[in-house]
Each structure stands twice: as structure tokens, then as C-alpha cells.
Symmetry: C2
Subunit: 321 residues, 2 copies
């Protein structure tokens, strides 16, 4: 029996992560809002991570594992500079300070495992063909800079022994169910999800854009694997790049065609957006994730697999499978 807190537990990954636990585990979720209908059986706390009082209340149960998924997404952090920094790093800092206070007050008895979801946005161009585990973090977005700062902070708290844990850098999660969000990467899911649901989809970038993907199912697997990992196997004091699939938008579209046919693909409409093009230009395309693979993390090996995962897990009224 484990007690788990998911900060950002109302989000798509948070909900799927909560569902991955058994009934014998105690799961609490903190978020600004929760889906109206949900199969998740967990204690829900409504509030902002930026609210120290709410956070304090949330931590009173002293959870063994805390997943910190809450974040202002990339597009919004770029558009609203102050909000991005306030929520993405200052709230995370306050959270870490509360963890340290509880550690000190309990004479080191309380020392939870904190799994933080960082992002491949910590990397900035110019890139090598494949980004290796020791590639530098020189982000070209505010979101990336914020995630990189959080990694440094968490790693220092871990090094000092105030908590255990790991920062993992997720690929772009694709196919996200539900509606488009403000992430600049939202279209990578949209061009698959909308057509499969009979809707038109905007494609804001050129089809030769290459990117790094993993399914929501893989993301949940990464998080659970990180929870059970022995950090001693890490030789450097950094964050860990997660496995994924490198493919172009064209390869995404051809995978969709092979699964759902020509008529579905015709729902994708090119609609160039200079802002998105500019942000995506600064994003990595491919990785060599030796350390994570050696530690037992794994992801899909074809975009068809990623689409199938969406169809199996999330497509409403699925008529395709």
C-alpha cells in the first residue's frame, strides 16, 4: 500500500496516472479543476499550486510519492511571461521548501519521493542529429528555462537528502485525448485526433518537421517506473531523457492514412502559423536515450502504435478498431 499525491492530478496524464493505482493505494489529486466525469477514485483538492495554504493542506497526509505534473504549458508561458515564471518555478520552489520543512520537523523521518515531469523543451538549438543523455540545457523558450531551473532545484534538494526522486524529461505526448490546449505542441495530437473524430484539424507547420513523441500510456509507464527506480544507478546529477519515437509530420500523416484511410487524412488543413513555426524550430527532433533504456524505460517504436494506443484507450465511440 502506497500513498500518492498527484499535483496536477486533474490533467490528462494525472488522471491516467491515478487510474494506474490499485484500490488498496491512497491517491490524492490537487488541481485547479477536474473533469466532470471520471473513473478516478481519489481524494480531490481544488486549488492552485501557487497557493501556499492549499499546498500545506494537501501535504498534511505526508504522501510517500508525489508526482509534480502541474505546469503552465509552453505556448502560454511564452505569451504570459510573469504567469509562466510564477507558476512554473516559484510555486515549485515553495513546494520544495514545504517538503524540506516537513523533513526537518520530522528529524528526517519524512522524506518522500518526488517525481517531476520536465520536458525536452529544456534543450535549445543548435542540435546534433541525436541528442544524447549529456546534452546541455540551453533552452530557447521560457517554458524550457523554467523546467530546467526546476530540475536544478529538485536535484539539489535530493542531493542534500531532503527528499528522494527524479526529474524525467517527457517527449511530446501524442495523441492527447480531448480538446486542443495552449501548448505550442498541441497540433501534433490535433492532426491525428480531430480527423479520427470526424473533425477538421489545423496543421500550422510544414510536413517535414521532425519531432519526438510518446503516447499517454507510455508517459504513465515512465512515471510509475521512475517511482520504483533506484537513483543510485544514475552517474550524474541531472534529469533523465525519456524514450520516444522520432518521426516527421509526414510520417504521422502516413501512419494515420494506413490506419484510417484517405478520407480521414483529408480533414487535415495546412494553415501556417508563424508563432508556432518559430517555437517548434527551437525544439529537438531526435534522441539517443541510452541511460533510460538501460534503466528499463521504453516507448512505442512506430507512429502506428501510438495511434493504436489512442484508439484503444481514448477514442470516444470508437468505430475503427
Amino acid at each position: 500500500m502506497t500513498s500518492v499525491l498527484i499535483i496536477g492530478g486533474g490533467g490528462m496524464i494525472g488522471q491516467k496516472l491515478a487510474l494506474s493505482y490499485n484500490n488498496s493505494d491512497t491517491v490524492s489529486l490537487l488541481d485547479m479543476a477536474f473533469p466532470e466525469s471520471s473513473d478516478v477514485n481519489a481524494k480531490k483538492i481544488v486549488g492552485s499550486v501557487a497557493d501556499a495554504g492549499i499546498l500545506e493542506k494537501t501535504l498534511t497526509d505526508l504522501p510517500d510519492t508525489i508526482f509534480y505534473l502541474a505546469s503552465v504549458v509552453s505556448g502560454e508561458a511564452e505569451a504570459d511571461f510573469s504567469k509562466g515564471w510564477d507558476v512554473n518555478i516559484h510555486a515549485f520552489w515553495s513546494f520544495l521548501v514545504q517538503i524540506r520543512d516537513k523533513y526537518l520537523k520530522s528529524d528526517g523521518q519524512y522524506r518522500p519521493k518526488i517525481i517531476f515531469t520536465s520536458s525536452i523543451a529544456v534543450f535549445g538549438s543548435p542540435f546534433p542529429n541525436k541528442i544524447t543523455d549529456d546534452f546541455l540545457t540551453a533552452p530557447r523558450t521560457s517554458y524550457g528555462a523554467q523546467k530546467a531551473c526546476c530540475e536544478l532545484m529538485l536535484n539539489d534538494f535530493i542531493r542534500k537528502g531532503f527528499c528522494k526522486g527524479l526529474a524525467i524529461r517527457l517527449p511530446t505526448i501524442c495523441v492527447r485525448p480531448g480538446k486542443p490546449n495552449l501548448a505550442a505542441s498541441s497540433f501534433f495530437s490535433g492532426i491525428i485526433r480531430e480527423p479520427l473524430n470526424g473533425l477538421k484539424a489545423n496543421l500550422p507547420v510544414s510536413t517535414d518537421v521532425r519531432h519526438w513523441h510518446a503516447s499517454p500510456r507510455s508517459a504513465v509507464r515512465f512515471l510509475r517506473h521512475a517511482e520504483n527506480l533506484n537513483r543510485n544507478s544514475l552517474t550524474f546529477n541531472g534529469a533523465l531523457n525519456m524514450p520516444g519515437l522520432s518521426c516527421t509530420v509526414e510520417e504521422q500523416i502516413e501512419a494515420l492514412r494506413s490506419i484510417a484511410g484517405n478520407e480521414v487524412v483529408k480533414l487535415i488543413e495546412p494553415n501556417p502559423d508563424e508563432k508556432i513555426i518559430e517555437i517548434v524550430k527551437g525544439w529537438p527532433e531526435n534522441f539517443d536515450v541510452k541511460i533510460a533504456l538501460n534503466l528499463g524505460f521504453w516507448a512505442e517504436s512506430s507512429f502506428e502504435d501510438i495511434i493504436q494506443t489512442y484508439i484503444e484507450d481514448d477514442l470516444p465511440n470508437n468505430v475503427i478498431k
Copy 2:
């Protein structure tokens, strides 16, 4: 004519930097304390960078260039976790926010150049033989983590256009004049300075420890060169490793012997300190600083030169030259 603010202007580098300006330039200094006797002719503001009111007052003159040198040093940041993070990153963040406010209120008319002194402590082991310009920042000290966060923040403010500037990573500055400080690196200077002044010096590490040094004179040259640099020549959104000299403690001692003789060297007393040994173990030893050299930065090429610089610039009642 330039107007310059040096935050941390009461420190050793701050004072030497202030002296590098002409009488026609306007120089202001902010620090907690200033040396009693000093040749520096500048406006002195006594206060902490962590005090938002003092910072506000200090910035009313809208300086063209701001050098941000203020910092809790490595040893102290490791011993006092809260103080290190508070001063080294939260105060720097408040400073950047004030700069952005002034930028926004002036409709972009005020956009100063901010030169931030970061450190090679942003790097953590394992190291390659020589650390290259694109080596990752995975620090193993709180001080290093704090400096790395500041780099990320400053680079994001620069990228967004709220200010200009550059973060430069200084080698260990050696030979520091004056008294030992709380930096874990303090002994690198002490074993040269104390004997040259007829005093005994503690050597807390083994003589085969290799490290990366530059003189105070070089540090001032780096800062002035960074002030005049065109950032467009940088191809990545990171901080810049400064040139230095890689040598062992034994090579330092032999350089001292060649300049000052055996009797002076005998004043060095081995006195192993496990805390210092542990911190220094996580520090880099050698660099390949291609980008900085191409941009015209340069440092000493022998430890004898570094000692001569100390003798010329700082040795009180110098009888050796």
C-alpha cells in the same frame, strides 16, 4: 561616457572593476560593506541585494551597464542552504523583475546590459579531460545549482528583449588579495598569498588536485570585454566559459618556489579537511574554451604569471619584485 552599476561592488573584484573605469564614467556600487581604505571614486550604496527597496533606489539612475557580482560564496551556500538560495537566486530574480518593470514602463527605452558572474561550479562530475563549451550543467553543490538557475533566468530575460547582457563563468580567481573567505576554493589563493606575506597557510587537499585558475586582473578584463561584446556572435543560448590556466596544487607550489624560494614554500602546512576535499572533488579541472578565445577573451598561460600579477597588483609592502 558610460554609467555603470556594480552590484557586489565592495568585494575584491568589484573594487578592481570600479578602478578600471575613467573619471568621465559614472560608477555606482552596491554592497553590504565596503573596504575602509580604497582608491575607488564612486557612489557607494550600503545594503543587501535581497532588499527590494535598496535595489529600487539603486536602479533609479538607470545605469547603462550593470555588473551583478553579489553572491553567497560556495562554502557558505553549502553550509547554509536557505541563505544560499535566498541570496543567490531569489534576490537575482527580484533584480531581473525590477529591470523588466523599468523596461516596460519606459516602452523599451531602458534596456541595460547585465553582466552576470557565474562560475565553473555549475559543472558536476563525471568530467571529460577537458570541459568543452557545450558541456552540460549538472552541479554537485548548491552554489553551482544557484548559479546555473541564474544563467537560465538571465538568458530568458535577454531572449525576450527586456535587457542585454551575458553570463560568464569565471575560473577560480587566484591569487585573491586580503583575507581567506568562506569559499571552499579559498585555499587555492591562501597557499600563495599567506607565504608571500610571511604567514603560515593551510593546505586542506592533496597536492595532485588539479584546478582552473585566472587572476583578478584577468577577471576584470573578462568583465570589461563582456560589456563590450556583441552577443550576436553567440550561436547558443547559454553562458560562456572563461579562459583560465589548468594546474595542480603541486604546480602552484613549484611556481611559488621558483619566484619566492624554499623558505617561503615551507610556510605551507598540509592539513586535510574532509569537507573541502569532498566539495573540491566535484569541481572541474580543465577546459577547452574555444568560443571565448575566438571572441577575444584571454587569461594567464602559466601560474608564475598569476603569482607575478598578485605581486604587482596586490602584495602589500612588496619586497619581492
